[in-house]
C-alpha cells in the first residue's frame, strides 16, 4: 500500500508542478491546488498509514498519529485561502492588464526580446 500511496503523491506532485509551469494564470491555480493535495498527503503520510487507527481516546490501543492530522487540517483551510487569494489576484490582473499571462504581459516573440523595463 505504501508503494501505491507514494506513487500517488509523486504523480500528483508531477501533475501539479507541470501545471504550475504553464504560462496562464488559471492552469497555475489548478496546479497549485493539485500540489497542495500532494503536500497534504505527504505530511499526512509522515504519520504512517494506518487502516484501523483509532482517533478518539479509549476506543482502541492503536491510535492514528494525531499530530500530522492536526497540521494537515489547518493546512487544508489555509491552502483554500491561498488558492482563493491567487485566483482573485488573477481575475484582478486580467481586469487591469487585459491578459491572463502569469507575467502580466504577453512575452515578445523570441527574435525581438525587449530589454526589461524598470
Amino acid at each position: 500500500m505504501e508503494t501505491l500511496f507514494a506513487l500517488c503523491i509523486g504523480f500528483l506532485t508531477a501533475c501539479g508542478v507541470f501545471l504550475m509551469l504553464r504560462g496562464r494564470t488559471f492552469p497555475v491555480v489548478v496546479g497549485l491546488t493539485m500540489l497542495s493535495y500532494a503536500v497534504n498527503l505527504f505530511i499526512f503520510a509522515s504519520g504512517r498509514l494506518n487502516l484501523k487507527g483509532a482517533v478518539v481516546l479509549g476506543t482502541s490501543d492503536n491510535y492514528a498519529d494525531p499530530l500530522p492530522q492536526a497540521l494537515v487540517l489547518t493546512a487544508i483551510v489555509i491552502g483554500f485561502a491561498m488558492t482563493a487569494f491567487l485566483v482573485i489576484l488573477a481575475i484582478r490582473a486580467r481586469a487591469d492588464l487585459g491578459n491572463d499571462h502569469v507575467d502580466g504581459s504577453m512575452p515578445a516573440p523570441r527574435h525581438a526580446k525587449r530589454e526589461r523595463t524598470k
Partner: protein, 931 residues
C-alpha cells in the same frame, strides 16, 4: 585604573565637538582634546605594569552565543599603538585648529576624527577578534568620512569611494579569515588564539585562512598591488593624511601582522607571501615617490614604501626582524607625521603643493624648513636620527635571511636600491621646495605659520633627534614590551646603539646615501626616462573597473530576474531537484524495511481513480471547465483516502473545502478566459515535463522512504494528555484548540487577512461581463431554478443543525470549529446560488468583514481570559457540571476558542465567495471611504 576608559573616553569625545559647536574654534579644539588627553593619562598610568610584562584584561559578556565578548586587552603592543594614536591624535587636534579655514565645519571634522580615534583604539585594545573586526570596519567608514571631508571636490569623493571599496573589500576577507580562525581555534578570544599557533598552522584550511587574512592586512596597509588607494586618499585635509594615512590607520594592517605573529607566522607560506609583498611594495613605492610633483603625493608613495619595509621585516624569518619592524613603526610614525604636517603648513601658507612651483622657500620660512629637513633626513636614514637606527637594523636583518635559498643575496641588494631611492626623494623634497631658485607663480607670499600650528611638528622632530641619539633611554622600554608581545615573550638579545662598528649594514647605509645624492644630481635622465613611460591613471582605471563590475552585476541580475515567473519556478525547482536529489542518490536503499500494508481492491480502485483524474486534469488543462471537473474528482479521492487511513477529521475538512474551492473556481472562470491558448514551444513543454517528472519522482521517493521507516512520534504526549490536560477525547481537535492553540490563532488570522485581501482586490475592479461561455453559448435564462431553490431552502436548517452538532461534538469526536464553519458556509453559499444575492441580502444583511473580526476577537479574548487567573496566554480550563435532565456536561474554555475559529471560518469563506459572487450585481464591493 579602568582601562576600558581609554576606549570609552574618545568614544564619548565624539560628541564633544558637536556640543561645543557654538563655541569659539579654540574652545572647540581644547574641548575635543580633553577626552584623548585624559585617556592618554590613564594609559600612561599603566606604564609600569605593562612594561613589566603584565597583560591588563577586562571582559564583559556581549553576545555569548556568537562567541562575542567585549574584551579589553592591554599588552605591550596595544600600549605602543594606543600611545601613538592618542599622542599623535592630540598633536593633530592642535594642528587642525589652525589648518582648517573658517568655511570648514570644525565640529564635524573633530567629530569624525574622534570617531576614527575610537575605532583605531578599538582595534588595538580588543581582546576578541570579532570585536577587532567591528572596529576595523569602523576605521574604514570613518576614514571614508574624513577623506571626503571636502565633499564638494570631485577628487575627494572619488578618492574616498576608492579607499572605502578597497579597504572595505579587505575587511570582508578579514572577517572570513577571523571566522575560520575562531572555528579552528574554538574561541574568538585573542588570548586563546595566540596560544594555538601550532594547531592553526597544521589545519588544512590554514593556507586559505592566511591568504584571506593577508588580503585584509595588505589592503589596509596599502601593500602592492592594493597600494593605489593611498595616493588618491591624499585629497583629504592634511591633518587626516598625517594622522590616518601615515601614522595610524595604514599601520592597522601591520598591527594585525604583529598581533597575530605568534599564531600565524613561522610557516614558509607566511614568509614568502609577506616578505615578497613587502619587498615589492618597498621598491615600487620608493621608485614612484621620486617622480611625484605633488608634495603629498611624494609623501604618500614614500609611506607606501616604508609600510612595505615594515611588512618585509615581519616576513623575514627572525625574531630580531620583528623587533626592527616594531621599532620602525615608532620611527616612521614620528618622522612621517611631522613631514605631512610640515607639507600642510607649506600648502597652507603658500597656496600650492606642486614642487615645480615651490622653490626657494627657505627665505620665507626658515624654521619650518629646518624642521622639515631634519624629518626628511630621518626618513632618508641619516645617522644620529631615528630613521637611521631602524634602517640599520633592517639592513642587518636582510643580510641574515635565507628566504630565497641561493638567491637570498638579492634581498639586501634590492633593499639597498630602495634605500638609494629613498635618499633621492628625501633630497628632492628638501632641495626642490626650499632651494633651487625662486617660487614660480604662487598666489600668495609664503610666510611662517602661526606659532601653535608649528608646535606639533617641533615636538615630533625633537623626538626624531632624541630617539636618534639616545634610543635605549627613550624608547627602550616601549620597544621591549611591544616586541615581546609580538614574539610571545621570546625576546632576542639586541642593543639599541648608534654605533655598532664598521660592518656591512653601515656600508649599505653609506652606499644608499652616496647613491641617493648621485641619483638626485643625475635626476634629469631618470625623469626623462620616466616621463617617456605611459602614465597610469589609477583612479580612472579603478572607476572603469568598478563601472564594468556594476554593469556585469546588472547584466547578471537582469538575466536572473527577467520578469518571467515560469523561469523563476523552473530555476527554483531545478535547485530543489539538485538539493533533494543528491542525498537520495547517496542513500543505500530507499525502503526502510517496515512491513507494507497489503493492497486491497477498494484502495487500488481509489488510487486508480485518483491517478486517472489527475492525468486527465493535465491532459485537458486547456479546456478549463473540464479540468476543473477532473480536479474535483482528485479532491474527492483525497478525502476518501483520508477516511480510509483513519483521519475522519481530515476527510470532513477536505470534503467541505473541496466544495467551496470548486464553487470558487467555477465563479472565477466566469471572469477568466475559458480556454488556454497553445503558446509554449514544444521544447519548453518537454523541459517542463522533465522537470515535473523529476520533482514527482523525488517527492514520491521521499514519501516512500518515510513511510517504510520505523515510526517514532512525539504524539504519545498528546494522546496521553488530551483527556487529562485538555478535557477532550478527539486528540486532533485538542491539539488544534489547546496544545497548539496559539498556532491556530495565527492560522485563522491568516485566513482572515487573506479574505480581507481578496475583498480589497475585488473593490473597484473594472467589471468585465462575458455574454456567453467558452463555446459561444449564451448563459441560461433561468438564473435560479425552482427545484434547486426549494431544495436549498429546505436543506438550510438541516445543514445548520448538522454544523452545530459537528461543532459541539468536535472536542470528543471527529468535528470541530473548522469543519462546522465550512459546513455552515457551504449551506449559505448554496442559498446564494439558488436564490441570488438580492434574496439573501433581503433576509440576512451581514457584512462578513465584521464576522471575521468578531471571530478573531473571540479567539483572542479567550486566550486573554487565562490571564485573569494568572495563567499563561491561552491556558485552557474545563470542568464537569451536573445539570438536571441533561446529566453531566463538560464546559471547556477550548469551546469558546473553537467558537472563534468557527466564526472566523464562516466569515472568511463567505467573504471570499460572496464578494466574488456579487461582482455582477449592484452589491459588488466598493470603496466607501472618500478617495
Amino acid at each position: 585604573m579602568n582601562v576600558l576608559w581609554i576606549l570609552l573616553l574618545p568614544m564619548l569625545g565624539t560628541l564633544v565637538p558637536l556640543l561645543l559647536a557654538k563655541q569659539s574654534r579654540s574652545r572647540n579644539a581644547w574641548g575635543t582634546a580633553a577626552a584623548p588627553a585624559l585617556a592618554l593619562a590613564i594609559l600612561l598610568s599603566t606604564t609600569q605594569s605593562v612594561f613589566s610584562g603584565e597583560v591588563l584584561l577586562q571582559q564583559w559578556q556581549w553576545i555569548p552565543l556568537l562567541g562575542l565578548d567585549l574584551t579589553i586587552r592591554l599588552d605591550g603592543l596595544a600600549y605602543l599603538f594606543s600611545l601613538l594614536i592618542l599622542a599623535i591624535g592630540l598633536l593633530i587636534i592642535l594642528y587642525a585648529r589652525y589648518y582648517l579655514s573658517e568655511q570648514d565645519s570644525m565640529p564635524r571634522f573633530y567629530s569624525f576624527l574622534m570617531l576614527f580615534m575610537t575605532a583605531m583604539l578599538g582595534i588595538v585594545l580588543s581582546g576578541n577578534i570579532l570585536q577587532i573586526w567591528l572596529f576595523w570596519e569602523l576605521t574604514s567608514i570613518s576614514s571614508f568620512l574624513l577623506i571626503s571631508f571636502w565633499w564638494h571636490k570631485s577628487e575627494a569623493r572619488r578618492g574616498a569611494r576608492m579607499a572605502l571599496t578597497i579597504t572595505g573589500g579587505g575587511g570582508l576577507c578579514l572577517l572570513a579569515a577571523f571566522l575560520l580562525l575562531g572555528n579552528i581555534a574554538g574561541s574568538y578570544q585573542l588570548a586563546d588564539i595566540l596560544e594555538q599557533g601550532a594547531l592553526i598552522q597544521q589545519h588544512s584550511l590554514y593556507p586559505l585562512l592566511l591568504v584571506l587574512f593577508l588580503l585584509g592586512c595588505f589592503t589596509k596597509s596599502a601593500q602592492f598591488p592594493f597600494h593605489f588607494w593611498l595616493p588618491n586618499a591624499m585629497a583629504a585635509p592634511t591633518p587626516v593624511s598625517a594622522y590616518l594615512h601615515s601614522a595610524t590607520m595604514v599601520k592597522a594592517g601591520i598591527f594585525l601582522l604583529a598581533r597575530f605573529y605568534p599564531a600565524l607566522s613561522g610557516t614558509e607560506l607566511w614568509f614568502l607571501l609577506v616578505s615578497l609583498t613587502g619587498l615589492t611594495t618597498l621598491l615600487v613605492g620608493a621608485y614612484l615617490a621620486l617622480f611625484k610633483h605633488d608634495l603629498k603625493g611624494l609623501l604618500a608613495y614614500s609611506t607606501i614604501s616604508h609600510l612595505g619595509l615594515i611588512t618585509l621585516l615581519f616576513g623575514l624569518n627572525a625574531p630580531l626582524a620583528a623587533v626592527a619592524g616594531v621599532f620602525h613603526i615608532i620611527n616612521h610614525a614620528t618622522f612621517k607625521a611631522s613631514l605631512f604636517m610640515a607639507a600642510g603648513i607649506i600648502d597652507h601658507e603658500s597656496g600650492s603643493r606642486d614642487m615645480r612651483r615651490l622653490n626657494g622657500l627657505w627665505q620665507f620660512m626658515p624654521i619650518t624648513a629646518t624642521l622639515m629637513m631634519v624629518a626628511a633626513a630621518a626618513m632618508a636614514g641619516v645617522p644620529l636620527l631615528n630613521g637611521f637606527l631602524s634602517k640599520e637594523m633592517f639592513f642587518a636583518e636582510t643580510l641574515q635571511q635565507h628566504l630565497l635559498g641561493a638567491l637570498s643575496w638579492i634581498i639586501p641588494l634590492l633593499a639597498t636600491v630602495a634605500a638609494v631611492f629613498s635618499v633621492a626623494y628625501s633630497l628632492r623634497l628638501i632641495h626642490d621646495v626650499f632651494f633651487n631658485g625662486q617660487p614660480k607663480g604662487l598666489t600668495k607670499t609664503p610666510h611662517e605659520p602661526p606659532r601653535y600650528m608649528r608646535l606639533p611638528v617641533e615636538v615630533l622632530v625633537v623626538l626624531c633627534i632624541l630617539v636618534g641619539i639616545a634610543p635605549a633611554m627613550l624608547v627602550g622600554g616601549l620597544l621591549n614590551s611591544a616586541a615581546s608581545a609580538v614574539l610571545a615573550g621570546n625576546l632576542p638579545e639586541y642593543s639599541l646603539a648608534i654605533w655598532h662598528g664598521f660592518n656591512l649594514p653601515l656600508l649599505m647605509s653609506a652606499i644608499a646615501l652616496a647613491g641617493g645624492v648621485l641619483m638626485y644630481v643625475k635626476r634629469k635622465q631618470l625623469f626623462d626616462f620616466q616621463s617617456a613611460l605611459p602614465g597610469v591613471d589609477t583612479l580612472n582605471i579603478f572607476e572603469q573597473l568598478m563601472k564594468q563590475l556594476t554593469r556585469s552585476a546588472e547584466k547578471l541580475y537582469n538575466w536572473i530576474d527577467n520578469g518571467s515567473l515560469q523561469r523563476y519556478m523552473a530555476l527554483l525547482l531545478t535547485a530543489f531537484v539538485i538539493l533533494a536529489g543528491l542525498p537520495l542518490i547517496q542513500m543505500d536503499a530507499l525502503g526502510g524495511g517496515r512491513a507494507e500494508i497489503p493492497i486491497d481492491a477498494v484502495n487500488a480502485t481509489g488510487a486508480a481513480m485518483l491517478l486517472i483524474s489527475a492525468f486527465a486534469t493535465v491532459v485537458w488543462h486547456r479546456k478549463r471547465v473540464v479540468a476543473l471537473l477532473m480536479i474535483s474528482v482528485v479532491g474527492l479521492m483525497v478525502s476518501i483516502a483520508f477516511t480510509r487511513f483513519s483521519a475522519p477529521d481530515l476527510a470532513l475538512t477536505q470534503l467541505s473545502v473541496e466544495v467551496v474551492t470548486i464553487i470558487l473556481l467555477m465563479l472565477a472562470l466566469f471572469f477568466l478566459p475559458h480556454k488556454t491558448p497553445k503558446q509554449s514551444e514544444p521544447s519548453k513543454v518537454v523541459r517542463d515535463l522533465g522537470l515535473a517528472s523529476l520533482v514527482g519522482i523525488i517527492v514520491g521517493s521521499l514519501s516512500y522512504a518515510i513511510m517504510t521507516r520505523p515510526f517514532t512520534t512525539i504524539s504519545d504526549f498528546f494522546i496521553a494528555n488530551a483527556k487529562t490536560g485538555g478535557g477532550g477525547t478527539n486528540v486532533v481537535n485538542v491539539i488544534l484548540v489547546d496544545f497548539r492553540g496559539f498556532d491556530t490563532l495565527g492560522e485563522i488570522a491568516v485566513l482572515g487577512i487573506a479574505a480581507l485581501g481578496i475583498f480589497k482586490l475585488l473593490t473597484r475592479i473594472p467589471v468585465f461581463k462575458p455574454s456567453s461561455d467558452g463555446e459561444g453559448r449564451p448563459w441560461a435564462r433561468e438564473r435560479h431554478p425552482l427545484l434547486l431553490a426549494t431544495v436549498a431552502q429546505s436543506i438550510l436548517p438541516l445543514a445548520l443543525m448538522v454544523s452545530i452538532y459537528i461543532f459541539f461534538r468536535g472536542h470528543n469526536l471527529p468535528g470541530g470549529g473548522f469543519i462546522a464553519g465550512l459546513i455552515t458556509a457551504v449551506a449559505i453559499i448554496l442559498l446564494y446560488i439558488s436564490q441570488g444575492v438580492d434574496w439573501v441580502k433581503a433576509r440576512m444583511n451581514i457584512e462578513y468583514q465584521r464576522v471575521v473580526a468578531v471571530g478573531l476577537l473571540i479567539a483572542f479574548m479567550t486566550g486573554l481570559a487565562s490571564w485573569l487567573f494568572g495563567r499563561p496566554y491561552l491556558t485552557s480550563w474545563f470542568d464537569y457540571f451536573q445539570l438536571p435532565l441533561f446529566g453531566e456536561i463538560e464546559l471547556a474554555s477550548a469551546i469558546a476558542f473553537d467558537l472563534g475559529v468557527y466564526v472566523t471560518v464562516v466569515g472568511a469563506t463567505l467573504l471570499i465567495l460572496a464578494s466574488l459572487g456579487k461582482m455582477t450585481t449592484s452589491y459588488r464591493p466598493t470603496h466607501k471611504e472618500q478617495l
